[in-house]
Symmetry: C2
Subunit: 163 residues, 2 copies
DNA sequence: CCTGCAAATGTTATAATGTTTCAAACTTTG
DNA sequence: CAAAGTTTGAAACATTATAACATTTGCAGG
C-alpha cells in the first residue's frame, strides 16, 4: 500500500473508485441532491479512467453499454457533478476528471502529464494566496481560478530522460 | 494620460495597437519570421478589440472587409502568432488576446472580467514560484502553465456593488 | 531569367465540442 | 390523486477546430 495515493504510484484503483462513489453519495444525501443512476454512472466512468474524459468519450462508453444517450444527457450530468464539486473540468483539455477533494465547490491546481495523460490535483495554498494578492493589487475580485500545468510526471520523466 | 496603461483606465487605444504592431514587426524581423499581411491583420484585429476574440469572430471581421477567408486561414495565423508569443490563447474562453509582454514564449496570469469581458495580463513571479515549488514537491516537471482568473474588474465591481 | 524547393495560403470537407428546444417521464408534496 | 417541479429523452443546431489536398508566393541557385 502506498504512503499516499498519488496516481503515479500503483494502487488499488477499484478501491479509489468505490470510495469516491461512497463519498459522492454521502455528499449528495447531505445536500438533498439527487445522485441519479446516470449521474452516478458518469461519475464512476470518470473515476475509472486514469485520464480526464471528454464528454463524447463518456457518451461513447454509455452507448457501448446499451444506454443510448444524446450529448445533453452527458453534459447535464457533468453540470450536476461540477456543481457539487464531484468533478473538475480541465479547460485546456476540454475534459473532466474526478475531484480528489470533493465536498465543497473549489478549484485546485492540476498537474497534467502530456505523455501519459494522468492528472494530479493539488491544493496549493501558496499559489492561491499569491493569486489573490496579485488580484488585490489591481483591485480585481477573483471568483474562479483555472490553474492547469502541463508537463511531465515523474514516471514519464524517468522514462524519456533518465534521472 | 494614465500612470500605467491598465485596460481599465481610459487611454489612447490606437496608440496601444500601433505600438503592439511595431513590436511585433521588430520581433519577427529579428527572428526571421514572416509577419505576412494576413498574420499582421489578425494581430491588429485582436489588439483593436477590448476583449478576447474567438477565431470565428476574426473570421467574420475579415469577411466584412472583403477577405473571404476560411477557418484554417485564421487558425494558421493564430498558430503563428502564438508561436512567436504575440498573442495568448485563453482556454476558458476559447479566445485570443494580444500579449502585453510580447517577445518570448511565455505564459502569464490572466484576470478576466465576467461582466465587461476585459482581460488584464499580469506577470506574477510569486505565483510562478509557488507553482514551480508545488510541482517540484511531487517531482513534476512543468512546461506550460494556464492560469486564468475569472471575476470582476474594478470598474464593474464599482457599478454593481458600490465600494 | 527560370527552375525548383519550401513556405504560405486557398478551398472543401469534416471532426470535435457544446447548446437550444420541446416533449415525456419521474418525484415530491399538498 | 393532482399539481408543480425536476430529470431525462430526442432532434436539431451552433460553435470551435482540424484534415487533406490544390494553388500561389518568395526566394536561392543554376
Amino acid at each position: 500500500m502506498p504512503e499516499r495515493a498519488l496516481p503515479y504510484r500503483p494502487h488499488n484503483h477499484e478501491a479509489c473508485v468505490s470510495q469516491a462513489l461512497a463519498d459522492a453519495r454521502a455528499i449528495c444525501r447531505q445536500q438533498n441532491a439527487r445522485l441519479t443512476p446516470i449521474r452516478e454512472r458518469v461519475l464512476e466512468l470518470i473515476w475509472q479512467s486514469h485520464k480526464p474524459l471528454g464528454a463524447y468519450d463518456i457518451l461513447a462508453m454509455l452507448s457501448t453499454e446499451g444506454h443510448n444517450a444524446a450529448p445533453p444527457t452527458v453534459y447535464r450530468a457533468l453540470d450536476f457533478l461540477l456543481q457539487y464539486g464531484l468533478v473538475h473540468r480541465i479547460a485546456s483539455l476540454n475534459a473532466f476528471t474526478g475531484c480528489t477533494h470533493a465536498g465543497e465547490h473549489h478549484r485546485g491546481t492540476f498537474l497534467i502529464c502530456r505523455q501519459c495523460g494522468n492528472v494530479l490535483e493539488l491544493d496549493v495554498p501558496d499559489v492561491s494566496r499569491a493569486v489573490e494578492a496579485a488580484a488585490a493589487e489591481v483591485a480585481f475580485q477573483p471568483e474562479e481560478v483555472t490553474l492547469e500545468v502541463a508537463g511531465l510526471c515523474p514516471r514519464c520523466r524517468g522514462e524519456s530522460g533518465h534521472a
